[in-house]
Symmetry: C2
Subunit: 153 residues, 2 copies
Amino acid sequence: MTCNQDCGKNSQEWMAALRANGYRLTDARKAVVDVVINSREVLRPAEVFEIAKKKYPKLGLVTVYRTIEKLEELGLIQRVHREQDCQAFVATRAGHNHLLLCTECGRYVYFEGEDLGDLFTSIEKDTGYVTQDHWLQIFGICPVCQQEMGDDQ
Amino acid sequence: MTCNQDCGKNSQEWMAALRANGYRLTDARKAVVDVVINSREVLRPAEVFEIAKKKYPKLGLVTVYRTIEKLEELGLIQRVHREQDCQAFVATRAGHNHLLLCTECGRYVYFEGEDLGDLFTSIEKDTGYVTQDHWLQIFGICPVCQQEMGDDQ
DNA sequence: TTCAATGCAAATATTTTGCAATTCG
DNA sequence: CGAATTGCAAAATATTTGCATTGAA
């Protein structure tokens, strides 16, 4: 089972990564991993829980939180910030990519960022700050939601 | 009293804006406005509360939340998202500017963004999304914290 | 004088922690 | 078998709401 954007990752690799870091492969973790890796949308813990519980009814919300914590620690997922919600996650893609997010449904795609190196250099000179990291995130409406919005009108 | 970056705004203007929108000018609001407009750092509601209470001891935390809500609604302040904290605010500056934030102390400066128009055009073509908005935010260490870190070592 | 605004207390919502039972390796 | 993991319940956080009192206009 590969992830939604052909990012080259699949749940077996994620489970292997967990194993390699000394974590056990439990059914609860498999359920959470499957949900996150296969989602086209950004998901919040409660959403992961609802979906994963269908595959693994014994699942507890606490385990979702704890599994997310480990996946984030291993760099397999990353937190996405949106205006009113900063506890959503997506599968990480290799390299420094940026997110384009649908504000209607949470569907996301990665895009290659501009080379902002020159900008950073000039900002460091102007401000005296040493830059460490940056976020570039774009919000919009995905094709599916455009279609649906058109249908409604 | 003007704000920390000579943004051209002062607390009287903010109070006038509140008044113009039908809100009353209370001592509690003056205290909150003064704190936010004069802060060099991004502040969370609880921090605003602690500082503003010194000027106006009767202040309640709830009033801070409610005042922040109104200031945001009027576009006088904007919410800042950071890795583990998305309920911090800064005075808004005119135009589309981006934030450079110190990860140590929360000090911030605005910088003029690149023109990302071309990027948006090409992304819309590639993905089928219609873009609406974007965040570009840089994290780093401010000159003051660089100094302090140097002193410690 | 009137009604918006306040501040307390209580209610919500979200995330974390303690712990006994379970399960992976 | 032993230790990591789980899931429940309870605790801790953060934010919002209800309401009687206060105070701006």
